[in-house]
């Protein structure tokens, strides 16, 4: 079969594009090299829905960021991914910083950011009582906050699939040839997909994919960001996303109340050579902790539950590179999607759709399009009466598996039913294992449930596909020396 469009990469960019294309009746397929969707930088970032004031108004970034910010609001109502719309507070901690703060505020006004409020010292403390005493002023952007980035991407993909998009995971595009108006994409293990149009949304690997398709030669520079997660009981959890005044190339280190209820501090910004280098270091933790302790009170090393790192896919222009390829036909490049790529993603999806249209893709409305997903329930958030009602239908709702995050068996079963059969997949879908014990108590139970529900033997379950097996076999299989 020949698809109309093949999208390479199922991060925020690819997923949002698939979702936008599902409004039309053409046949779209989403290709992902990993075992499950959202395997790249879209699952390892700050999760912030940015406000549109960080970059100048003439950049593509800003235009798409502002539009994306609006669209995420609407999408949240339809798709129900976790979004904490707590607003963003940019804070100056010294008189000289006030200068830069004013410039940034003005840039925001020029960009057309809505409802921005410049705040004196008293007002910033009203908005955020946990600020460090040294705060002197700031500005507040109410239209922003934090989402669970993987939850967001999962829901885009789910909605796209519901509306006719196909998905193929474990498909790493290694080459592509164009003949008679049709691309033939080949995967590492010999698979083949044919499509008239191709979207390169391969994140960090967009340069390699472009090369494999005989298109533009450019380079993606990975820039690492380490993030540190603190317990949901941390006394330093702020009410707002707290930004310092930015420095060159980076928005600085932030204190983030995550949509999942924990507190995150980070990220760092450091150029690295290896696209697989997602290691974190203890030096950086101490550095970040120190910086953020001077921004918000109550942050302690004792509350650290885990850390991770994501790599920003940076294009030499420092801007997004989203355009029709000049070299290869029927190919749209979506590269250099660094921050605010998550925020901008729905707008990027729209923009790519319009570029596809300009390139000749016919867009006929999908008459059966249904842009809503059923709401998702979490045992932890249900009141007694509602939870009892759920229990009466299915007792698994009150069987708590993950004690730290209070995740029920029913939620884990739901994740497996929706196709998450890896431990990380279930974790990102449900939060089971994301809390303070990091799966110490529940991993045996979670493995049992995934195995029971998916029919995959426990020994074959992986952390995130490939060779990332959790277990090495059954007791008794090894020779005892």
């Amino acid at each position: 079969m020949i698809y109309d469009t093949a999208i390479i990469g199922s991060g925020a960019t690819g997923a949002a594009t698939a979702y936008m294309l599902s409004h039309y009746s053409g046949k779209t397929i989403l290709l992902e090299k990993a075992h499950e969707v959202c395997a790249g930088v879209s699952k390892a970032n700050s999760g912030i829905v940015h406000g549109g004031f960080h970059h100048p108004s003439d950049s593509l970034k800003t235009r798409l960021e502002l539009r994306g910010n609006e669209l995420i609001d609407r999408l949240q109502h339809e798709l129900h991914f976790p979004y904490l719309k707590c607003g963003i507070l940019v804070v100056a901690y010294s008189e000289p910083e006030l200068e830069t703060l004013r410039k940034l505020y003005r840039q925001g006004l020029d960009n057309g950011v809505k409802d921005m409020e410049f705040c004196d010292r008293k007002r910033v403390f009203e908005l955020e009582s946990k600020l460090h005493e040294s705060a002197v002023g700031g500005f507040f952007v109410p239209n922003g906050g934090t989402i669970e980035p993987y939850g967001y991407v999962f829901s885009l993909v789910e909605c796209a699939l519901k509306n006719g998009v196909s998905l193929q995971c474990d498909f790493e595009v290694v080459s592509g040839t164009f003949a008679d108006g049709v691309w033939t994409l080949k995967s590492a293990d010999g698979g083949e997909i044919k499509a008239r149009y191709v979207v390169n949304a391969a994140g960090l690997f967009a340069d390699e994919v472009s090369k494999a398709l005989g298109a533009e030669e450019f380079k993606i520079f990975p820039r690492k960001g380490e993030e540190y997660l603190l317990d949901r009981n941390s006394a330093g959890r702020p009410e707002r996303v707290v930004f310092p005044v930015p420095v060159k190339h980076s928005k600085g280190v932030l204190v983030i109340p995550t949509a999942g209820g924990t507190t995150m501090i980070g990220p760092t910004a450091e150029a690295v050579d290896d696209k697989g280098d997602t290691a974190t270091t203890s030096d950086n933790f101490l550095k970040i902790l120190k910086l953020t302790q001077n921004m918000v009170n109550g942050l302690t090393a004792r509350d650290l539950i885990t850390s991770f790192a994501g790599l920003r896919p940076v294009h030499e222009s420092e801007d997004f590179y989203i355009a029709k390829s000049e070299k290869s036909p029927n190919l749209i490049q979506a590269a250099g999607i660094q921050s605010p790529g998550l925020t901008a993603s729905p707008a990027i999806g729209e923009f790519i759709t319009s570029l596809l249209k300009d390139a000749g893709l016919e867009l006929v409305e999908n008459p059966g399009f249904d842009g809503t997903l059923p709401p998702r329930y979490e045992a932890r958030k249900l009141d007694d009466a509602k939870l009892q009602e759920f229990h009466d239908n299915d007792p698994a709702w009150t069987n708590i598996i993950c004690r730290c995050e209070e995740i029920s068996e029913a939620e884990i079963i739901e994740a497996v039913k929706r196709g998450h059969t890896t431990v990380d997949g279930v974790k990102f879908y449900t939060r089971a294992g994301m809390g303070r014990c990091q799966g110490g108590f529940c991993s045996a139970k979670v493995l049992n449930i995934i195995s029971r529900e998916s029919g995959i033997p426990m020994e074959e379950l992986t952390k995130r596909g490939g060779k990332s097996r959790i277990l090495a076999g059954k007791l008794g299989e090894l020779e005892v020396k």
Binding site: N233, G276, T278, A279, T280, S282, F285, A301, L304, I305, T306, S307, F308, A379, D384, L387, Q388, H391, D392, P395, A396, W397, T398, N399, I400, R403, C404, E406, S408, E409, V423, R436, C437, Q438, G440, F441, A444, L447, N448, M458, E459, T462, K463, R464, G466, K467, S468, R469, I470, L471, A472, G473, K474, L475, G476, E477, L478, E479, V480, K481
Partner: protein, 415 residues
């Protein structure tokens, strides 16, 4: 929704909960022991090795055997059990009694009512993230207790060749357990200059198997994209930073962390119980009452014990105190006690002046000759000579009634 009334509800059916529950039930109090697991015994169920009970039962038992005996005692005493039942919240009502929210697959949402509450939730293991171990995040990284559970309760192999980080008792026991399962143990790496575990465990679990123990050494990286491939470790400089010039690599597919336990205090926090930063557990008086009247605590959720026998003894005593509280006994005048030189903590934090008190201490030094002193107003008013002091081994000292006539600070003097 059913509403059930008890004199005392105990959160946790581990050794602590069972011991306290037995005493309360024996005294005729209506007692319910709640546990989220399907069987009683807590962490003991996965400790299938022996070495338990020498003190408490005067014979050597395995963990599950110890658990079974404790459970039977509680059952015979008339304690009731609610298993597969997670307590998610405890609130103190205006009259000082408690509302306890329980979730279970069987009954859904239940609110229990009790006059007293015993916190016996045990602890969780500190994990890789909590100590900010650098490196990649492949499969094959477990806490020692998780690996223990996978092996002993699920019959699964966590890997084929392992490095163990931390030489606490669980890590040591696991080193031997892995070897007995055919899993290679390449090394145990300990950041301190001495093992964090009991001496008998170092001998029986490492020396007897020729497993190398690297002291004053830290893990500086875990490598592996999909599954663990190797660990990079480095000895510490005199300022305790890793000396990367002497870093070395150990190939393995599994890393187990045994780097300490943290009391599971979340329910206590919801109750507003005052915490002791040195233990991570609650502050208690000599009746094991927390800062919230009617809320008691003992076992690993109060402070991390080396031996389950001590847990059982402590919780049994706490159980007696709960009974006293329920019959309306008054505490009387109290003094405070604090940990001074060479001591990490002292328990209890307050004591009744007119009663004999059993104090527990966690030392911070290794020495073979020391004296423990009770200082009141800067003067030593009580002393005890100690012959063998190790951070892994708790110090227990009984102080007779009417010995300490004021707020006391304990000090450990090396001789």
């Amino acid at each position: 929704m059913v509403r059930l009334d008890y004199d005392v509800v105990i959160a946790g059916a581990g050794a602590a909960g069972l011991a306290a529950g037995t005493v309360c039930a024996q005294a005729g109090c209506s007692t319910l022991i709640v546990d989220r697991e399907g069987r009683t015994g807590g962490i003991l169920n996965q400790c299938i090795h022996n070495g338990f009970g020498l003190r408490y039962f005067k014979e050597e038992l395995t963990g599950p055997e110890f658990a079974y005996r404790m459970s039977e005692k509680a059952r015979h005493a008339g304690a009731e059990f609610a298993l597969n039942s997670a307590i998610t919240d405890i609130k103190q009502l205006e009259d000082g009694t408690f509302d306890i929210r329980v979730l279970s697959g069987k009954d859904g949402v239940t609110h229990l009512h009790a006059r007293a509450v015993m916190l016996a939730m045990g602890c969780r293991e500190r994990n890789r993230g909590a100590i900010a171990t650098p490196g990649e995040r492949p499969a094959g990284v477990f806490t020692a207790g998780t690996a223990q559970k996978l092996l002993n309760c699920e019959g699964k192999l966590p890997g084929k060749s392992a490095v163990i980080v931390g030489s606490g008792d669980i890590g040591l026991i696991m080193a031997r357990r892995l070897r007995w399962s055919g899993i290679e143990v390449k090394a145990v790496i300990e950041i301190m200059p001495h093992s964090a575990g009991l001496t008998r465990n170092v001998v029986q679990c490492l020396h007897d198997f020729d497993i190398p123990l690297y002291l004053s050494t830290s893990v500086i990286r875990i490598d592996g994209k999909e599954r663990v491939e190797k660990v990079v470790a480095a000895p510490l400089n005199s300022d305790r930073t890793p000396d990367t010039s002497r870093a070395f690599e150990i190939e393995c597919d599994t890393v187990l962390f045994s780097v300490g336990l943290i009391p599971e205090m979340e329910l206590a926090r919801k109750l507003g119980v005052k915490e002791n930063p040195a233990t991570g557990g609650a502050e208690v008086n000599s009746a094991y009452s927390t800062s919230v009247p009617g809320v008691f605590s003992a076992g690993n959720v109060l402070h991390v014990h080396d031996l389950v026998d001590f847990v059982a003894e402590e919780a049994e005593y706490a159980g007696k105190c709960i009974v006293d509280y329920l019959v309306g006994a008054k505490t009387g005048k109290e003094f405070s006690s604090a940990a001074g030189k060479n001591l990490k903590y002292a328990i209890p934090n307050r004591f009744a002046a007119a009663k004999a008190t059993r104090f527990l201490f966690r030392p911070t030094v290794v020495t073979d000759r020391a004296v423990l002193k009770a200082m009141v107003d800067g003067k030593s008013v009580w002393e005890k000579k100690l012959a063998f002091v190790r951070p892994a081994e708790m110090i227990i000292a009984e102080v007779a009634a009417d010995t300490l006539h004021g707020d006391v600070t304990f000090e450990l003097e090396e001789l």
